[in-house]
């Protein structure tokens, strides 16, 4: 039986743009615009998309690092948006985050011991006397040695620093970890080590991950389900097999076809999208992808497509496109 650990309903995150003499709000960046999804206990849901699609904003909103404009975030049966600051801080014991650049997110003047101890002290995890044992255990779990206990962040390599970031997140025994581009800054060989570590930790401690990434290879490896975002909306969501092998939304298809495959014998047919992602300040009407979509029609300009499931999709797979069936049957042809 699967239980939903995290449920996000109609989440909106608008950032005001201030201007004029009185600093009035002249416009808004609609970074996340009405998204709904859930994460089951013990699974990994990845959010993918290009820069500016709102994937990181979503992660930050869940932790209330930025307070969302509207919506509902239910974690373990409790609406996080109704907690006050103190309650929320306590709640963060269960929800942790691992950032992209551990060097920027770990205090450079603290040793590993201090970093981990502080995390435990804030959340009252263990009595002081038992913390050192726990710290050593954590180091061992993430693959660092006891001799590295009193080292500063700058004494570590990038991969080791990310291990410290992981140890800090684990220090408070969380249920749920948001990984925001946690392996993006690492070299391939080190990235693989960290990915394997994250998977192993998930198995051992029954962790739930919200994995935010732009690298679809990494996403396929780590996820159970995937959500594809474009300009603040989820355009497609479902089990990873479905998203990668049976994508329905034209954006997902072009995104997948754009990734270079490390196999010179397989020259795949590529859908090269025209132009850039439009600005989230004044996003296109209707389907936000219509300005770059080879299938776009008048209807796409006017009507916002809803996430829906068709007969050829299985599981929880849904896509937000008016023409899923017509594109599939070939009734609608792309015009490049």
């Amino acid at each position: 039986m699967t239980t939903k650990l995290l449920e996000v309903n109609n989440l909106k995150q608008y950032f005001p743009i201030k201007g004029g003499v009185f600093g009035r709000t002249v416009n808004q960046v609609k970074a996340v615009d009405d998204i709904t999804f859930h994460v089951n206990e013990g699974e990994t849901l990845s959010i993918v998309g290009e820069s500016g699609c709102g994937k990181s904003t979503t992660g930050r909103a869940v932790l209330r690092l930025d307070d969302p404009t509207s919506g509902e975030i239910n974690f373990d049966g409790e609406n996080l948006l109704q907690l006050n600051k103190r309650q929320m801080r306590e709640k963060r014991k269960d929800l942790q985050i691992i950032f992209q650049d551990p060097y920027a997110s770990i205090n450079p003047r603290q040793t590993v011991r201090q970093v981990l101890e502080e995390a435990m002290a804030i959340q009252h995890v263990l009595p002081k006397s038992e913390r050192l044992d726990k710290i050593l255990e954590l180091l061992d779990i993430v693959g660092l040695g006891p001799h590295q206990l009193d080292r500063f962040p700058h004494e570590f390599s990038g991969g080791q620093r990310q291990r410290v970031g992981i140890a800090r997140a684990l220090a408070v025994d969380p249920k749920f970890i948001i990984c925001d581009e946690s392996v993006s800054a690492l070299d391939v060989s080190i990235q693989a080590q960290i990915l394997n570590l994250l998977k192993q930790l998930q198995r051992e401690y029954h962790l739930t991950y919200l994995f935010i990434a732009h690298d679809l290879g990494v996403v396929r490896h780590i996820s159970d389900r995937v959500a594809v975002m474009y300009l603040g909306n989820i355009v497609e969501i479902g089990e990873k097999q479905e998203i990668f092998d049976n994508p329905k939304h034209p954006y997902t298809k072009s995104l997948l076809s754009a990734i270079p495959v490390p196999d010179p014998d397989r020259k795949q047919e590529r859908i090269v999208l025209k132009g850039d992602v439009p600005s989230p300040i004044d996003p296109p009407s209707g389907c936000r992808f219509h300005t770059r979509c080879p299938f776009a029609t008048e209807k796409c300009k006017n009507e916002v497509p809803k996430l829906r499931k068709t007969e050829t999709m299985t599981g929880t797979h849904q896509a937000a496109c008016h023409y899923i069936e017509d594109i599939e049957s070939g009734r609608k042809q792309p015009n490049y």
Partner: protein
């Protein structure tokens, strides 16, 4: 020597940095030829020396760095023997370079038109007006819509992909024989990366230039390169045509790199990671640089540095396994046995 088949021939290039009395050998004896009209990829992880190799070709190594040894032959002349004045004429004219982050390579206070036009004024002695007209042509060539309006814009008004197109326009302004592209698409989103890679491919065919592509992305390599050099800790460990490299990699590092790559087009149970870290420059292993991380390492690997051995298929690999002196299991097959050897 204009009918030479090679655009560039690097021989035994050594570039070092001198920090606090220590010598850090960033590039340690690299030899590489770039055939005319072809794309040669240099792959490697951070600190492997791939970027320093490219900067050495351009003679852009600044103190405390120093090119200590070697030759870089282009059209029968050694670039390392040129004066700074002569080099300035070669840069932009014969060899051009594009970098990873276009925003730091473009000047924020000049319009892009002025920056492209400058190339023509400096290298071809055109007037400002002629330069401006050429700039519009170049913007059109690199696929920037409404180039007449765009020339008047400043770099901050353009998106990342557009900026990289402008960089390419500047680099190609004087139709160089050789283009060095250092991680040209690393900072870009995949859909924009696809646009830029396609543009570079088309322009290369149109202009018939040779390209050195420096990247850490094996996908980009597979798609764009003819030949590939894999670098590790300042040395080339494998050199092969792109098909051989991906279908039959020989060096344990290359194999490890490929098996640790998460793929979006197929499922993998677990990634076969390479254990450990890249050696620090001041703690270089005495023997093979990769020996401490190599699952096949034997006695000789730890003690002696292997040469770059030429294999039957005209490719090269720096590994004892392929030499007569190999003292380990004679039956070993690196690609097939990697996984089992690794888990021991």
């Amino acid at each position: 020597m204009s009918n030479d088949a090679n655009a560039l021939k690097i021989s035994d290039l050594r570039t070092s940095f001198f920090v606090e009395g220590n010598e850090i050998k960033a590039v340690d004896g690299v030899s590489l030829t770039i055939p005319k009209g072809k794309t040669v990829g240099i792959v490697g992880e951070s600190g492997s020396g791939k970027s320093i190799t490219s900067l050495s070709i351009m003679r852009l190594i600044k103190s405390p760095g120093q090119i200590k040894h070697g030759s870089i032959a282009m059209n029968g002349e050694d670039l390392l023997q040129k004066s700074e004045r002569e080099m300035r004429k070669i840069r932009g004219n014969q060899i051009s370079m594009i970098f990873q982050e276009p925003m730091t390579s473009l000047n924020p206070v000049y319009t892009i038109g002025e920056q492209i036009s400058e190339v023509f004024q400096v290298h071809q002695g055109l007037s400002k007006k002629e330069g401006r007209a050429k700039a519009v042509e170049m913007l059109e060539l690199v696929g920037i819509p409404s180039p007449k309006e765009r020339v008047k814009q400043y770099p901050h008004e353009l998106s990342g992909g557009m900026r990289q197109r402008v960089m390419i326009a500047i680099a190609l302004a004087c139709s160089p024989e050789l283009l060095i592209a250092d991680e040209p698409t690393t900072a870009l989103d995949v859909t924009i990366q696809a646009q830029i890679l396609e543009l570079m491919k088309n322009l290369q065919q149109e202009l018939g230039m040779s390209v050195v592509l420096i990247t850490h992305d094996l996908g980009v390599v597979a798609e764009t390169c003819d030949y590939v050099a894999v670098m590790y800790a300042g040395k080339i460990v494998e050199y092969a045509d792109v098909y051989t490299l991906f279908n039959a990699p020989k060096h344990p590092y290359t194999v490890g790199l490929m098996q640790s790559l998460p793929r979006h087009d197929k499922d993998q149970e677990e990634l076969n990671v390479i254990k450990g870290n890249v050696p620090k420059p001041d703690e270089m292993p005495a023997g093979c640089r990769f020996a401490p991380r190599c699952p096949f390492a034997s006695e000789i690997c730890i003690n002696e540095l292997p040469d770059l051995i030429e294999t039957e298929d005209n490719n090269k690999v720096r590994c004892w396994i392929y030499s007569d002196k190999w003292d380990g299991n004679p039956e070993v097959n690196v690609a097939d046995d990697y996984k089992t050897a690794r888990s021991k």
